[in-house]
Amino acid sequence: MTLTRRSLILGVAAALGFNPSGVLRSPGGRAHAAATASAQLAAEPAAAALSRSQLEDLVAFAEVLVGDGPLSPVEREYLVDHIERRTTQGGGYYLELYRTTAGLLDSLAGARFSSLDLAQRGALITRHRLFSSAVRPEENLGPFPKKAREVRTRAVPDLIGGYYASPAGWAVVGYGAFPGKCGDLARYTSPER
């Protein structure tokens, strides 16, 4: 069976107990669901640039970086979309970077990173300062310094940027329409409701 990217996302979402048809949440209305990203999926994605587990690791990593709780299925879709675009258009660079990232996360976790719950992922990221793209010259980067530097300086800003450039990022500031999404012509004339 061949899965589309969308069915992959919805598969992850369903496994996490979300309503897959849920649209972008409002900035205030956060989804509260059990937070484990370890969905077991039936098949490999069609675009096999990254393995399923690598993709899940990256989304699970980004989930901790970009917000304060579990992401909705639609938000995950934006992230997967971003990662896929990078890997198909980035001339191999991003594929390498993402593989390095997933590899580092799994090594540090001693398990699949995406199998950890949100709190565990947050603790691991804090412990290894994997949230910060700024690396001080004398900083101890842990057991895999080269990879950690790569992940912090390249993957972290990339994943954060990918999320906040997406409709999810605009939703954070309360915009349902934004550059690239058409809307109501009168809206720009008064304050946002």
Binding site: V64, Y164, G169, A177, G180, C182, P191
Partner: protein, 532 residues
Amino acid sequence: MEAEVAIVGAGAAGGILALELARRGIRVVVLESGPRHDFARRPEYVRRYVRGESPWATPLPGLDRYTVGGPVPYQLGGRRARGVGGSTLHWEGHALRLHANDFRLKSLYGIADDWPISYQDLDGYYAEAERMLGVAGVADEPWAAPRSAPFPLPPFSFSYSDGLFTRACQPLGIALHHLPQARNSVAYAGRPQCRACGTCQVCPTGAKASVDLTHVPQAEATGYAQVVTEATVLRLELDRSGGVSAAVYAKPDKVQHRLNARVFVLAGGAVENARLLLLSASREFPGGLANRSGLVGKFFMSHPSIDLTGRARENVYPYRIGFSTAMSRQFAIERDRATHGAFLLEFLNSAGPTPERIAGASGQWGEALRTRVREEFGHWLGIRVYAEQLPDRINTISLNANVRDYFGSPAPHIHYIVGKYERKALDDAKEVAQKILMAMGLTDVRSTGLSFAAHQIGTHRMGTDPGTSVVDVALKAHDVPNLYLVGSGCFVTASASPPTLTIAALAVRAAEHIAARLRPASRGDSTAHPAA
């Protein structure tokens, strides 16, 4: 291949000219260097655009190569487009007439030169261009020259932030007015009303006028116009009588073809028109075709520009529309331009960082990041300034034989300076804009460095004297009987206003001359006007 009129370039000038001639029953072939962009692909183009890619980028490697020299590098990258529609594919659609004074700098202020035509000469052509492009506006500009016809479409409303600017400007004696737009405030000419998609350099709906939508298909529909795409003209050849006999062009396979015609029109933009003339040097014209004056490529101009921004305490709701709706031409008209250069103020509807930029710069993560983005977004207001640049012979487009394009032709070289006059105008503008921003109580008021509008002007100026100009008032080359040069290359001075509505008006006018020349008996139209 043969035509009555061969047009090089299917951008603003070429597209308009093609329709104006074809609707009169004149057989036109347009050679366009770029592709035809399928409108159905616009949604995909928008996605690429919001990711920071240019869907209008030239597909042939090296075709847009150019070099810069002089103290201020004028970069062409992203400031023009090849394809059916030309640079109107990604223009902003701000469609202003020049002011009557803009045509008379020498007589009124003793600087630069007068145009050989007046605002009054162009008024009717402006009206026609506005009708065809569908310009939305209202005559609320206190300084505007009189118009014989109203705007064809109602104006776009002022934005929320325009209201904030207005309140601050009033006590300072500065008047805001609507910015005329070549985009549909209501459905018009088969194109829909603007839907606030916010990506006007790639409009997904077609509400923004671009000649690939407003003129070229209509020209083709007459049965008299044919557009050959991916056909780059390499040079023009002369016959024994001194007229142009053929345009030599090549497709991407580099095989050369000839197009014969009775009349040739260069509509490739100010840079490419000059370059093509220089590339067409011959025994008769060793310094370049139509260049006995030595002025081809000279007097290149643009609009030096800066942005000023400041931070408001409250949210000002940016990024909800893709274009600016208010401006002020007060400082472009009401000054002694002998000593004070003209500038106009554009009040931006989108300034400051996007959520992505805030997130990228914050150094935060998790909940703190989300909070930072939410708190930081939406507080910036901005004013963009465009200054008039005076014609200066030193600003030149020439050929760089050391750098070749895709077809092996020498690349254009741009030598560019911004003089004291323009720098003083920018300083004045900065002062005015700062005053407005401070009056609004904004903090962190700052200005960007010097930049330039995507307007290339001059290079084959219009005039009555063949010794001091390249084309006459009909835009016919002084030196070549069947060659016309259209576009902003023929402007004598740049004004502070964007050029394209004037390019359009001049193209309509040039078409009238060419038609009268080719059909001396019947000066009227042979087909109905498509947008009528």
